[in-house]
Symmetry: C2
Subunit: 309 residues, 2 copies
Amino acid sequence: MNEFELIRTYFQRDPLDPSVTLGNGDDAAVVSQHSDFETVVSVDSVIAGRHVPLMCPPDGFAARLLGRGLSDLAAMGAEPQAVLLSLTLPTLEPGWIDHFASRFHQLCVRFGVDLIGGDTTKGPLSAHLTVLGQVPKGSAVTRSGLKSGDDLWLFGPDLGGARAYLDVLDGQQPDHEIWAERYWRPEPQLDAGVSLRGVASAMIDVSDGLCQDLLHLLDHAVGSASVKLQSKLFPLCPDLVDRFGQDKALEYALTGGDDYCLLASIRGGVTIPTRGRRIGMVVKGETDRILLDGEPLPDAWQLGWDHSR
Amino acid sequence: MNEFELIRTYFQRDPLDPSVTLGNGDDAAVVSQHSDFETVVSVDSVIAGRHVPLMCPPDGFAARLLGRGLSDLAAMGAEPQAVLLSLTLPTLEPGWIDHFASRFHQLCVRFGVDLIGGDTTKGPLSAHLTVLGQVPKGSAVTRSGLKSGDDLWLFGPDLGGARAYLDVLDGQQPDHEIWAERYWRPEPQLDAGVSLRGVASAMIDVSDGLCQDLLHLLDHAVGSASVKLQSKLFPLCPDLVDRFGQDKALEYALTGGDDYCLLASIRGGVTIPTRGRRIGMVVKGETDRILLDGEPLPDAWQLGWDHSR
């Protein structure tokens, strides 16, 4: 099976979204926007042996790839439209590809995106996903705008589960259904993202660890700002404290990557349009940029999760 | 140097195009369209050891990557706007990255695109480029529409040079300046592409070999169609015939990949708005889909250039 047959067999589907004027199979795809909307676009990679285990199950590979990519659109408040997939496969194992493609298309339907292009090459397993969405002009929620007087909110299930699952993969912990789900089936917070347009002063998705992603918001703050977090407000993934103790559980929640919650700053007193958790507040700049229960964070926590380690 | 520093140092530039509302450095980028335009988008890979030599010079890697990617926009008649770069690097050799980034940005300016996003990971050298452009609504030139009575035209420098350069890389031929240029500095035919909107009935860029790309046009023809090519009309890269003889030169021109000319079908008698070469004509369907000087093509020629061999 050559590249053309592979693409035809597994990856060509008729587009469902009427905004996709021309889908997969030409030199490029064509997508139209509602008038007064603009295009939001991002690209993300999932590399086997780095972001996922070398021997990666096909359905998990598909779900992490789409979850991670679409989470970037959620963090902008964008409605997803389409994706392009650049896929590198070591060998043509029809079983693996078939499972991967089925799961990929199933999730595309669920998230309301069409696969409109891409390519395949032979090599170590990796995938690069381009995601396209749209927002009304001027309404994208960026990382810039957090301000003293805002509250800090989290939208999404809970924290630390994907990090804890790495210990399962390493054989240091027995399997755990919910951690496995957080790791293999991250849920991009698309509806929450859209509902926070015009509400959040700044927003980011938690992909590199909450502390590190919070530092990105602080880097782009309006005026001087520090953040006071309260540990008792954190939504911890089940059994983290039981298995690791309070300190380690908090460390996993604050520094582990791949949670794909949305972290937003919202002016105090503003009505929150969707279910979320207030985890702290933004104050005028102090010596420490982040305080947890009144104490500065360990330096190492602020380095966040490096996907290359 | 971690991923964030690498991106900040080498890949963050302020966008030049006013249509780029938000460039590199957030969860996603935001691009606006002129009203009545739509977005054209495609993704392409360049893998070291497959599409380019394993030890690939940084400026050639940048030029081939952008040339190959933007050629897809040219083939749609689209005006380029922006690119996103997903880059995998084996080690952080500052010299290599510095050269690559300089050349990449230089070419972005020349082709009028902003680098608006991407990511970097560690691994065998490869790059995946997403290209974004725009066309007036409904005016994208697709692969569908070639018809009996059309002429076949080529727009771009000449054919076979990039294929001949592979023999230089293999040590089978002494170096050749023009072949090297065709291979390392492919020139996307962007202006020609735009000028052919409303003129070409179908268009494709010659990336997998002229015969194979012509077969894609025939696959999407309106009604039954065959193509008659005349070898004396082909623009051959200099010295192909001298070094390889007439037959091999023609084979390289018709089957070698990476020429990045535009191949368009245009109704007979229509005024051609840009410099090009008529290389044949489209007739009613015959037993052979492509005839060269009245003879059927060797079967192997129709398989085209497989980048994975």
